[in-house]
């Protein structure tokens, strides 16, 4: 019995006890027991902060329980050894690397060099292949890095010119990285099935989806809302596809509509399907997350540049004019109802130009 009591003070469980038994507290310190103030609350960026704050003066049993667990977690998170240089799967989604951070080590760590079994190869990819190891083609990473940088540059420049960038990744698990990349690049995402005909038959499939007119600073201009009726659906200016193998229809439609495409080309994929191939492993989520993140960051830089220029009153692209907006999309003539004299005035310089 005595021995057990003695052992108590060494155990980690002792710290977990919310109410310390008098005997253990005597062992823990040499000072006289005094009543302490409640622990100071730490300001944090945790989304649960509101909830934690609400439970500061807990009312119900559940709130008390939650607060107790939270306190224990705070206490124990500091214990133990600190692990460094570990892989954080969330990190690549939360804070993806920039195109300038591309290194061969980064690509190697993400497993982008692993191709497919040699029997499944597409010989058109031979220029991207470094060699064979254990019956599997190895993609040469310096090529991957170069092509990835080129693709990042394309994304950045399209974004800087106000282009519409569509990120497509329809495999299981690619959803979060696609949404994150689109969020960063101010682009658009598709993580479920591409509806065939969204480009070639856009009016039928995307006709009901909402569009808006924005100024160069990306602020919506509601006064042009009426002019958007009867307009053809919007087509992307660049498509980034993480799994070209499954999205043949998407890439074909892009080809028909002269939309440039960027795609991750594994050793079994056809590199001629996309405009800007990135030879890399498209089966590892870590690899695709990395590439999507890098392209998202590139788009972010482009958008930032575009908005900075717009604040100075410049654009790299030719903005749509109010007159063009007011033209009837079918006849190409000025609509009777819209504009009036203002439209005529604005259309005058345009006719001169032509």
């Amino acid at each position: 019995m005595i021995v057990r009591r003695f052992g108590v003070r060494h155990s980690r469980q002792l710290l977990a006890l919310s109410r310390r038994s008098p005997i253990s507290s005597r062992f823990l310190s040499t000072e006289a027991p005094i009543t302490t103030q409640a622990e100071a609350t730490v300001e944090s960026t945790n989304p649960l902060h509101e909830v934690v704050q609400a439970t500061q003066n807990p009312k119900s049993l559940a709130q008390k329980q939650f607060r107790k667990e939270e306190q224990q977690r705070n206490k124990f998170n500091k214990l133990g050894s600190s692990v460094t240089e570990s892989h954080d799967p969330e990190g690549i989604l939360r804070n993806p690397p920039r195109p300038s951070d591309i290194t061969l080590e980064l690509l190697l760590a993400a497993g982008t060099h692993l191709g497919h079994s040699t029997s499944r190869w597409n010989p058109q990819n031979s220029r991207y292949i470094f060699g064979i190891r254990e019956g599997v083609h190895i993609i040469s990473l310096d090529v991957t890095a170069a092509y990835l940088r080129r693709a990042a540059k394309v994304v950045e420049e399209v974004a800087a010119r106000g282009g519409i960038i569509l990120f497509a990744g329809t495999r299981k698990g690619q959803k979060r990285s696609i949404v994150r990349a689109a969020e960063l690049a101010g682009g658009y995402h598709i993580f479920e099935r591409w509806i065939p005909g969204s480009l070639t038959n856009g009016q039928q499939i995307l006709g009901h989806c909402e569009t808006k007119v924005v100024n160069a600073l990306d602020e919506e201009l509601p006064e042009f809302k009426a002019d958007l009726a009867d307009r053809s659906s919007i087509k992307p200016d660049l498509v980034v596809c993480l799994n070209p193998l499954e999205n043949v229809v998407l890439l074909h439609e892009c080809g028909l509509n002269n939309v440039p495409t960027i795609g991750i080309i594994d050793t079994d994929a056809d590199p001629t399907r996309v405009t800007y191939p990135i030879p890399a492993n498209d089966d590892s989520l870590r690899g695709t997350n990395l590439i999507a993140g890098i392209l998202g960051r590139a788009g972010e830089a482009g958008q930032k540049r575009r908005l900075e220029m717009a604040r100075e009153g410049r654009t790299l692209y030719k903005p749509i004019t109010a007159t063009e907006l007011r033209l009837d999309p079918f006849t190409g003539q000025t609509a009777q109802t819209a504009g009036g004299e203002q439209a005529k005035e604005q259309s005058a310089p345009q006719t001169k130009r032509e």
Partner: protein, 313 residues
């Protein structure tokens, strides 16, 4: 085995590398630049491009001081999920998933204990979203809502609460509490019962055991003894035969259905007078609703399940 020897393939690869116009040159030179400045490179490229072939200057046409903010520049989709075909639905799902991830660590109730919520039915949901949402996707969204609803009710964040409320049908049907039936000022207890196609309404008052069914006496209404026994089984099993008068209206169905509808109605009315009898009536089996109805006939069958006899040729 048709597998190529690794040596031969490597050699082929090397010869390809040597003789093909390789991207490696550019890659190597680009690698040499340690800090890459995308912005300046494209700036210098872009300006000579735009000047010679297009005499149009976008800049002078726009009046920066006044009109630049108000002049349109681009037509863009309103939602980042424009190309999915149902952008509003996808935006809802993404929003709910982000909420679920953010508040995943909050304590939750066991699956059955969460407060029952009247979410939008599929049709209402389609109207609310304004898109043709497939059943499967609707179900997956409801699943997320159910999970968010399982967070401890006193710890649920305001943000989650407001989002959940936006998916509720107007007027919560589960909040309506029916008032327990009571004996009215004339001492009457009124109750309904159903069985098969029959519906019975019973008005039960304290009395000497007189029963009137559709204006007739019990014997006239139910000539068979067995029917009379079962109609009054609630009173018989509790020994209340001579303590109550009942005025019964029963419509629809056949004799058995009518009899057992009356049984149920009398048992319910008796419970209004004497709630303490409930366990006894339960054991007597008179307050258990028999929800069975006639099964419909199916095409290819003779009756509901009977198949036509097999005929050779």
């Amino acid at each position: 085995m048709a597998r190529p020897t690794s040596n031969g393939l490597v050699q082929a690869m090397q010869s390809l590398r040597l003789h093909s116009p390789l991207p490696q040159r550019s890659c190597l030179s680009s690698l040499r630049h340690h800090s890459r400045t995308y912005a300046t490179e494209t700036e210098t490229q872009a300006q000579p491009d735009s000047t010679p072939d297009m005499p149009v200057q976008a800049a002078p046409e726009i009046d920066f001081s006044t009109n630049f903010i108000r002049s349109p520049a681009r037509i863009i989709p309103a939602s980042p999920s424009y190309f999915s075909g149902n952008p509003r639905f996808v935006d809802h799902v993404l929003n709910l998933e982000s909420l679920q991830a953010r508040y995943a660590s909050l304590p939750i109730l066991p699956a059955g204990d969460a407060p029952r919520m009247a979410w939008f039915k599929l049709k209402q949901f389609r109207e609310y979203v304004g898109e043709q949402v497939p059943v499967k996707k609707y179900k997956s969204l409801i699943k997320i809502l159910q999970r968010l609803n399982r967070i401890q009710p006193d710890m649920i964040p305001g943000e989650v609460r407001s989002v959940l409320d936006s998916f509720l049908r107007p007027g919560n049907p589960y909040a309506i509490k029916h008032a327990p039936p009571e004996v009215d000022e004339n001492g009457k207890a009124r109750a309904k019962g159903k069985r098969k196609e029959s519906t019975a309404v019973v008005q039960l008052v304290e009395g000497e055991g007189e029963i009137i069914v559709n204006g007739k006496s019990l014997v006239e209404a139910f000539p068979r003894v067995h029917d009379r026994e079962s109609a009054l089984w609630a009173l018989r099993s509790t020994q209340r035969m001579d303590k109550y008068n009942a005025w019964v209206t029963v419509r629809g169905g056949g004799v058995t259905g009518q009899t057992e509808a009356v049984t149920l109605a009398i048992a319910r009315a008796l419970m209004v007078h004497e709630p303490g009898l409930k366990p006894v009536l339960r054991r007597a089996g008179v307050i258990t609703v028999d929800a069975r109805r006639v099964e419909r006939k199916k095409p290819g069958h003779v009756k509901a399940r009977k198949m036509p006899a097999w005929v050779k040729r």
